[in-house]
Structures are given as structure tokens and as C-alpha cells.
Amino acid sequence: MNLANQEGEVTWYTGMDEPSMKKLESAFEEQYPEINATFVRMNSSELGPRVDTERGTGSPGADVIHTSTHGYLDQVLADGQLAEIQSPAFEELSETVFQDHPGLAVDRWYAPFSSGSFTVVWNTDKVSEPIESYADLIDRADEFRGQIAVPDMYGDVVAGYYLAIQRALDGPDSSDPSESESLAALADMNPRLFESVVPLTNAVAAGEVKAGIYSVSTVYEALKEKGAPIDGINATDLDAKSGVNANVAIASWATNPNAAQVLVDFLFSEEGQAVTATTGYSTVRTDVDNPNGDIEAMAVPLPELDDPAFLKDYRANWTKLFRG
């Protein structure tokens, strides 16, 4: 702790939405006033290249990385450039909940501390009947043609999302977008493509499109609080369940390695998890009261997505389908 205080700062790159990130940042700084935290929000597609350049040049940047792109962390790990997590809170979880959920934590290198579930949202001024499911959305194709927002194909999270939809709607063996009826129906609706959750949800709130898939409750609820005409369905009630487990890892080239360990410990601790529970994400701990669920509600990893060849083909076929 003394070493961490001497370092006096820590930088975290995270894909969390801004309000949730700010909550965690304030809570961390309150608990560790000697450490100046810099939390930087970054899409997963942007995080990898940025961190790669930093590690290639040895320039200061991220101490702790939080990304949903598993393949990227595997690559950094293979290069021997992740530091082992040495945190009491992580230790405790490794011996308990992570043991019961193999595949979530990768030894002591990286693991998710929270999980977000994707859902469907719509503009309440433009849609009279709430959307009940993905199947309902596809059945109402004429109502939403040209008026539906979907995520563009960036990284393995979006691929996992589309894969979850096609497996839920077309059958558990469905793996190829070009043979998926549900994805073909979605593509046929002439959707607008968005880079990530927040711009997509904003477009629905603004009325640019009538509805959107791939939103999360934290983002649309924040807009709803401001009076935006937007609503969504509880992700657990959807016919296709998909979420994102963003993993937290420590860079081996971290400028502040000790403060990094303190931050990771905070994220897995009861205090950190209690704050995370207020942001709308599921949390890994089972001893924290969270309306969004604990580790049991977290997304199940899809092993296919760790295979670069599968991912490449999936992306190419999806691109042909949606970009024609």
C-alpha cells in the first residue's frame, strides 16, 4: 500500500459507460485519497490499438486495462505482457466463485468484475406497442424498416451478440450469418449501423430511429431520467440473452504497478462491487446485493470466438449480409 501511495496515481482504460465509470472513479478516490485515479473511457475497438502502441513504444498510458475483447488480452498474455493479479479480493474470488464458473477467469491474469446485458430499446414517441422480443421485432419488420439501429461488426463482443441472437432464434447449431434466417430478416430491415452502445441508444432517444438492439439498461435509463422518450425491455426477459464480460488486467509495463494492484483489488472487493451494483451491471460477488444479479447472471463465454479463423469468417459473412 505504501508503494502504491508513493506512486500516487493510476490510469485505467475502460469500456464502461461514462456515468458508471465516474461512480467507480469517485468511490476509488474516496477510499484511496493518496492515489490520483485517471479513468479513461475507450471503446474496445480503440483500446487495443492504443495499448499496443503504448506497449510497443514503452510510453506511459494504461496501468489497468478493462476490455471485452478476450482475444486481445490473450494476445497480450501470449506476449508475456500481463502482470499477475496479486489482490486479496481476487484471491478470495479465485477460490470460490471463479472455481464454480470455469472459463470466466483466466488464472491470475484476467477476469471480469462485472457484466452488462444487451437489450432492445425503442422511442416511446414513435413506437406505440412495446417490443417484447427479438422475434417480435422481426415480425414487425415493416414498422421498423430503415428505422432500426444495430451494432456494426466490431470485435468479438458484437460477433458474440449476433451469434447469440441467431442461436436463440434459428437453433443452437446456427453459426454462419449467411445461413441465418433471423439475421437475414434483420439485414432486410435496412438497419442503420452504429459503432457502439451509447451513440446507438442516443439515436433512439433522439428519434433518429424508432428502435435499436444492443443497448444496455444503464445508458437508456440515464436518458430516460433526463426526460428522453425511450424505454427498453429487461434483458432477462428477452428470447436471446447476450451480455459482455469485460475483463480487467494489469499491464506488465504499467508505470504504477502497485497502484494498479490496489485498483484491481478495489474492483473485486465488496466496496467496489457494491458501487458496481448501483450502475446496472451484474457483479461477480455473491455477497453483494445487486438487482442485476451476481455471477450466475453473467454472460457465458462463447469459446468459438477465441478462434481467430472463426471470428474472421463470421465477420466477413456478417459484413456481406449487412453491407451487401
Binding site: R41, R50, D52, G58, Y72, N202, E208, V209
Partner: protein, 558 residues
């Protein structure tokens, strides 16, 4: 000394471009093969050419028309001729952002207004789709109008009024005078400005990046950006996508140099022999004012409206619904303070370096220097290169050059400063060179005859004479660099974020009200810096010693 100057220019200009090529040629040119294998390459090339040619047409037609209007204004309205260049001081990023607020199909303010017309009231969206190829081209064209305007207005002012009077005395009407006398005289300027604007159009980045995703309107620069900034990173592919732009730029320099060899370019662009149109008219004030409303007032309205909204919804803000919460959020974000500090700091350091460098180049290019002809040609060529290469390309080159090897600059302000210096070299050098040509060399010759050393002559005579041009180049540098985006986005790191890249970050997060606040802040800071630079370096006391000079004149002469 001159070899040293050439060496500096080689490091600044050529090394990044060579790095780009070297990266593309790694692994036996695998990156080129990947690029050629891309099923989207044809569409990307087509979009790039269409964007270049289309935006040139928009800029050429509107810019020439506006210049013609400004040229005919009577003296009491002459101040209006400055207005069409004012949009240059607004960051392109801010303008594009604002156009998306104004013209987005469903909620764009202008679209909502247009749908009130009886012939469009049946539409649920549109009639304009800002994300379509046509409107991306049109918006890019509007960004380039001031450049054409500057070129053509100066050329018009250089036309001898007697020629026009003669045509009119022989019974030619206005349209015929334009068709038979004025446009043929403008041909060199039209060709020159359209070639420059074509290059600017081909290298445009902001509009396709921000607006093109929706309908897959990709161009070479956006492909470069995506390859270098998306996981998995492929710098080689990014470099390969930059190669056609390098080739086109090199070709343009060659064509320009051949064309200028036989042209009377300086007669057309010179401020000497300045005459107004033979007949002055007041009506041309109307198109100029309309242009300012469309190109400046409306975008600023769009930004302000969104900045004062709780969330972006397309509703026009009233006193009851306006909120300053977004200003408070953004101004309390330490990232903004850092980005403003970085933008201003890096720009100032770049100015401190590039202005003296530009002065040295101007001396080298002037007839009075004793530089060997071959070196002079080399300096001239190297100075022209950044003008015809997009900023994003130099950004990529600097990223590749200084991310590994003996000198690592990534993550430091030096990488951005280097990019900024390179981008500004042609502007600053040409401005000072033109001012030097106008001033002549008689005073310097006299000083030397009286025994003054070259250094003393420059310090006591040349620099004071060029002070207005130096003021203009400082102002131009600050106005371009404080909202620079193309190069910055390639080389910035978390600690070296500048205003333009911060705006992109807010944009990609969908925080549109924050985007609007940052854009307005950029406009305010750029305006303040330009005003300050004039206050410090371009005081009236000094202007009296020389004919009037300004950013406008200096650019035009260049």
C-alpha cells in the same frame, strides 16, 4: 547552412512518407496484397475520387460565384468581402458535427423545417440525408469554398479593369463579359485552385469519418484510420491505403511545376495593379450574406442548440428548456482542460519553430540568397509536399517513424508538434516568401553595400519589413493548428489528447451535447488566439511601414 535546411526538411517531410511506404512494403508487400484483396477497395477508391471531384465542383462553382460577388461590391460594402473566409476559422470538425445536427434525416433542424412545406409534409424523414454520399460530398465542398474564394478573388482583383471597360464599351453584356473576358483571364487561377482543392478533397477525412459510417461511405483516409485504430491493428494496411494519395500528391506537384513554368501566375496573383470591377453593384452583397448564414450562422445555431439541450432530440431550445448542464459537465471534465492546454501549447511551440523555419525557406527561395540552384529547387519541392498530402498521412508517417527505433516520440507532445510543424511549413514559407518578393530587395542590398552582415541585414531590415506577414502566418498557424484533427488523431495518446481528438471521443461516445460544447469552445479559443496573435505581432504601428497585409492577402500571394 542550406544543406542543413534541406536536411531538416527531409526529416520533417520525407522521412514520414518513406516510413509509410516502408511499412506498406513489409513482408514482401503483404499489405498491398491485403488492400487489393479487399472487396471494398473499388468502392473506397470510387468514393475517394467522387469526394475529391464532387467537392471541387461545389467549391469551384460557389467560391468563384462568391468571389465575383465580392469583387463587384461598392466601397461602402467592401468589408463584406472578408466574410466568406470567416468559416475557415471554425474547426471543420465543428462544422461537420453541426451539419449532422442540422441535416440528420429524422431530427435534423433543417429537415424538420423542410417537412413543413406542403410538397414534403408527407415525408417521415428527410428530404435530406446527411449520411448519404451526395451530402457528404456537398458538405466537404462547402468546407473548401473559402479556399477557392481566396484564390479567385485575388485573381479578379489583379485583372486590369480597362479590359472589361473595353468589352463593355463594345456593347458586351455582363454575362458575355464574364464568359469572354473574365473567366478566360481567371483560367490559371481556376486550374491552380481546383488542383489544390482537389487534393484537399481527396484527402478529406472529417466528413466521411463522422458521417460515412451509416451508409458505408469509406474513403482512403478513413480506411487508413480504421486499419491503424481498430483491433487487430494493421499499420501496413493503413500505409498501403495511403499510397494512392502519395502518388496523386507527387503527380500534382509535377503537373503544377510544369504548368507554372510557362504561366504568368504571379501577374494574376500579385496585389500590384489592383483594380476593382469596372462597375460596382450592391446586390452581390445578398449571396455573400446568404452564404454566411448557411456556412456559419446555421452551423453555430445547430451547435448552440444542442449544447443547451438536456439530450440531443432535434427540438429547438427555448428559454424554458435550455440548460447549462452540458457546459458545466464538460468544463468540469479535467480532460477538456488538458486538451485545451495541449492544443494551445503544442500549437504555440510549433509556431515558434515553424515561423523561423519558414523565414529561412523564404530567404532560400528569394533571389537574393546565395543558395545553389539545385538546393533551391529541392527546398521548393520539399516545401510544397505537405500542401498536397493529407494531414492524416503525415500523422501515420510520424506514428510509424517514431513508435520504435532510436527515437521514440509516441506518447509525447513532440510527436504532435512535429506533425504540426510539417503541416504548416508550406503555408508559412509561402506567405513569407510572397511578402519578401513584394518588398523587393533594394533595402537589403543597400544594407549589404554599407557593410551589414547577412544576419544583421535580416534582423534589422527583412524581419521588420515582413512583420505583417509574420503576424499573418502566426494567426494562420494558430487557426489551423488549434483545431487540427487529421494528423493529431493518428499520433495522440491519452496524455496528449488535443481538442479535436477529444471532440471525436465525445462523438464516438454519443455524447452529442458535449460534442457541441467542445466544438463551440474550439471556435472561441481559435478566435481568441488569432486575435491575440494580431494584437502582439501585427500592430498598426508596424503595418504603416508596409502595404496592408493579412492572412487573406498572404495566402493569396502564396
Amino acid at each position: 547552412m542550406w544543406i542543413g535546411l534541406v536536411a531538416v526538411l527531409v526529416v520533417l517531410v520525407l522521412v514520414p512518407l518513406i516510413s509509410v511506404q516502408a511499412k506498406a512494403l513489409l513482408d514482401g508487400g503483404q499489405a498491398y496484397r491485403d488492400m487489393l484483396d479487399s472487396p471494398w477497395l473499388g468502392a473506397t477508391m470510387f468514393n475517394t475520387v467522387l469526394l475529391g471531384v464532387g467537392s471541387v465542383l461545389v467549391a469551384l462553382v460557389c467560391g468563384t460565384f462568391l468571389a465575383g460577388c465580392a469583387w463587384q461590391l461598392p466601397k461602402r460594402l467592401a468589408w463584406l468581402s472578408v466574410l466568406p473566409i470567416v468559416p475557415l476559422s471554425v474547426p471543420g470538425l465543428a462544422l461537420v458535427t453541426s451539419w449532422s445536427f442540422l441535416l440528420s434525416p429524422q431530427t435534423g433542424y433543417i429537415n424538420q423545417f423542410l417537412r413543413k412545406a406542403p410538397w414534403w409534409d408527407h415525408l417521415a424523414s428527410g428530404p435530406i440525408d446527411v449520411y448519404s454520399r451526395f451530402w457528404i460530398i456537398f458538405i466537404t465542398g462547402t468546407l473548401l469554398i473559402p479556399f477557392v474564394y481566396l484564390f479567385i478573388l485575388t485573381a479578379l482583383r489583379g485583372i486590369d479593369g480597362a479590359l472589361i471597360e473595353a468589352a463593355e464599351a463594345n456593347g458586351a453584356r455582363s454575362v458575355r463579359v464574364w464568359a469572354k473576358v473574365i473567366l478566360p483571364l481567371l483560367r490559371p487561377s481556376l486550374v491552380y485552385s481546383s488542383s489544390i482543392v482537389l487534393l484537399l478533397g481527396l484527402g478529406q477525412f472529417t466528413a466521411p469519418l463522422l458521417l460515412g459510417r451509416d451508409q458505408n461511405v469509406t474513403v482512403l483516409t478513413t480506411e487508413m484510420y480504421q486499419a491503424a485504430q481498430s483491433y487487430p491493428v494493421d499499420y501496413g494496411l493503413a500505409a498501403a491505403y495511403g499510397s494512392p494519395l502519395v502518388l496523386i500528391g507527387a503527380l500534382l506537384i509535377y503537373v503544377q511545376r510544369r504548368a507554372l513554368k510557362h504561366s504568368s501566375r504571379y501577374e494574376t496573383l500579385s496585389s500590384r495593379g489592383h483594380r476593382s470591377s469596372s462597375k460596382t453593384r450592391s446586390w452581390p452583397a445578398i449571396p455573400i450574406l446568404v452564404y454566411i448564414v448557411v456556412a456559419l450562422i446555421l452551423p453555430l445555431f445547430g451547435l448552440l442548440n444542442v449544447a443547451l439541450a438536456d439530450y440531443y432530440s432535434g427540438a429547438v431550445i427555448t428559454a424554458d428548456t435550455a440548460t447549462l448542464a452540458n457546459f458545466s459537465t464538460v468544463f468540469n471534465d479535467p480532460d477538456l482542460g488538458r486538451a485545451v492546454g495541449n492544443s494551445v501549447g503544442y500549437s504555440l511551440v510549433a509556431v515558434l519553430i515553424v515561423v523561423p523555419l519558414g523565414f529561412m525557406i523564404a530567404v532560400a527561395l528569394s533571389g537574393s540568397s546565395r543558395i545553389p540552384p539545385r538546393l533551391r529547387t529541392t527546398v521548393d519541392l520539399l516545401t510544397s509536399v505537405p500542401l498536397v498530402m493529407p494531414g492524416v498521412l503525415f500523422g501515420a508517417g510520424i506514428l510509424f517513424t517514431y513508435s520504435s527505433g532510436p527515437i521514440v516520440l509516441y506518447g509525447t507532445g513532440a510527436a504532435l508538434i512535429l506533425a504540426y510543424i510539417t503541416i504548416m511549413i508550406p503555408h508559412v514559407a509561402k506567405m513569407q516568401s510572397s511578402a519578401m518578393l513584394s518588398a523587393g530587395s533594394s533595402l537589403q542590398d543597400s544594407a549589404r553595400v554599407h557593410g551589414a552582415s547577412a544576419l544583421r541585414t535580416h534582423a534589422r531590415i527583412t524581419v521588420p519589413l515582413l512583420r505583417p506577414a509574420i503576424a499573418a502566418s502566426v494567426a494562420l498557424c494558430l487557426s489551423i493548428l488549434t483545431h487540427e484533427f487529421g494528423a493529431s488523431v493518428m499520433v495522440r495518446s491519452t496524455s496528449t489528447e488535443v481538442m479535436g481528438t477529444l471532440l471525436l471521443r465525445y462523438w464516438s461516445q454519443g455524447a452529442y451535447p458535449s460534442v457541441a460544447v467542445v466544438a463551440l469552445t474550439m471556435c472561441a479559443i481559435t478566435g481568441a488566439l488569432v486575435a491575440l496573435s494580431y494584437a502582439f505581432t501585427g500592430s498598426r504601428r508596424h503595418e504603416k511601414k508596409k502595404p496592408k497585409s493579412s492572412v487573406t492577402n498572404a495566402i493569396l500571394k502564396g
